[in-house]
């Protein structure tokens, strides 16, 4: 299992891997916002956390369609499904590796973009923390979409369309936790706890559903 984790990590860092593209997309999306809404620093610092969250959400959807499709194209998926080890565990490990290669860099890059958005230290810290807690959920939800769309040509767009509605709760609680941290009266912990609960919930549901989808989409 550990060998699967490191293999996937290596693949995403090697030439043609998607680890760097995700961060680049994240930066580009967030950098485009000020062109649209204007360079008003107060406005930017107010909408900054939401923009970072939306950018991270879109960026983490980018590479998801390749999660199982790349394995299917070279036949590895067959062997992954045939083993004695439960498929659910295999998918969980693949998700973890995918998150470590694409989600974690987003979390690390977020403070830099927070500076661009003129956010204060507290807001940056809160955004980073919520992204850390929330982005795994997006990966686990995305695994379901990737498994459903694995056999489809041009499944990439479809995965995004399938996954985005499901990821909305993550976005809602992630952003509201950040705003709760910045603005005094609202407490930070309740929305943050719900965010963590969502992540844990999808960490279980995602691999189970993805395993079922992969079993049935075999051809």
């Amino acid at each position: 299992m550990i060998s699967l984790f490191f293999r996937d990590l290596k693949l995403s860092v090697r030439a043609g891997g998607g680890a760097m593209i995700g961060v680049l997309f994240f930066m580009t999306v967030v950098a485009v916002v000020p062109f649209g809404v204007g360079p008003d620093l107060n406005l930017l610092s107010r909408i900054g956390p939401a923009m970072l969250w939306i950018g991270a959400l879109l960026a983490s959807l980018l590479g998801l369609d390749r999660l199982f499709q790349a394995e299917r194209e070279d036949g590895s998926l067959d062997l992954l499904l045939m083993q004695e080890t439960p498929v659910i565990l295999t998918i969980f490990v693949k998700c973890a590796a995918h998150w470590a290669a694409t989600g974690l860099p987003l979390v690390i890059a977020s403070p830099l973009l927070g500076l661009f958005m003129n956010m204060n230290e507290l807001a940056i810290g809160a955004t980073m923390l919520t992204l850390l807690a929330g982005t795994p959920a997006i990966t686990f939800i995305g695994a379901v979409g990737a498994a459903v769309a694995v056999a489809l040509p041009r499944g990439g767009l479809l995965v995004s369309i399938l996954v985005l509605p499901l990821a909305i709760p993550v976005l809602i609680f992630g952003v509201s936790a950040v705003y709760a941290a910045i603005e005094d009266p609202a407490p930070f912990l309740p929305p943050f706890m719900i965010l963590m609960a969502i992540t844990l919930f999808f960490a279980v549901i995602g691999p189970v559903a993805a395993a079922a989808a992969l079993r049935h989409s075999a051809d």
Binding site: A15, G16, M20, L24, M27, A31, F35, F116, N118
Partner: protein, 256 residues
Amino acid sequence: MSENSLAIRKFSDLANPTRFLALADRVLPWLAAATTLFFVAGLWLSFTTEGDYQQGETVRIMYVHVPAAWLSMMCYTVMAISALGTLVWRHPLADVSAKAAAPIGACFTFLALVTGSLWGKPMWGAWWVWDARLTSVFVLFLMYLGLIALNRAMDDPARSARVSAVLVLVGFVNIPIIKFSVEWWNTLHQPASVMRLGGPTIDSEFLWPLLVMAVAFTLLFFTLHIAAMRNEIWRRRVTSLRRQAVRNAGREAQAL
């Protein structure tokens, strides 16, 4: 027929880089020494001159910030010329040069952004403002990163060279925008004070360290660029040796 043309192209591919490697070996030590010399002189000058009466010690950031910003644009210009070389003259070293310059340019741009941000905090009260100069430099940074990603994404160096050369030339539009952004739009960032018509407006006390540092940075760029080109040529040779090894392994097995 096709095999013949391939062989000739391969031959010219090899002949020129070999001469370049010999040249690089001879030039690099001198360049490196000159770079060190100018850096020592430049840093000594920048730390011994007096601070500005308004900006205090922070003015010293300028000695790194301004040359880095110049270099970020010059590096892109070098890449654009190399891209022309790839597309128009088909020079075998041009794509090596463009590919090797991209990471260096990204580093200089990043340095300019970081030092500018450090300078902006005490001056403007914010790490970052979305003014024309800063934004266009940031876009330049993103373009560098995009080009690096494009180069990495493709297996075949010849094909990726053509594609990224097209992108480099399209992106060159950004360079004049950066250069003149401070004059076209009235922004926070101060207008050019060294390279302008009618002589520099900067006090000679600041001008000298700045010029020395600029020379040092330029030398540093050429040292790094030549070294990176050498590495890229070596990397390609290693790749072709490895492909050769694979073909040989097949032959041995057949002989068995």
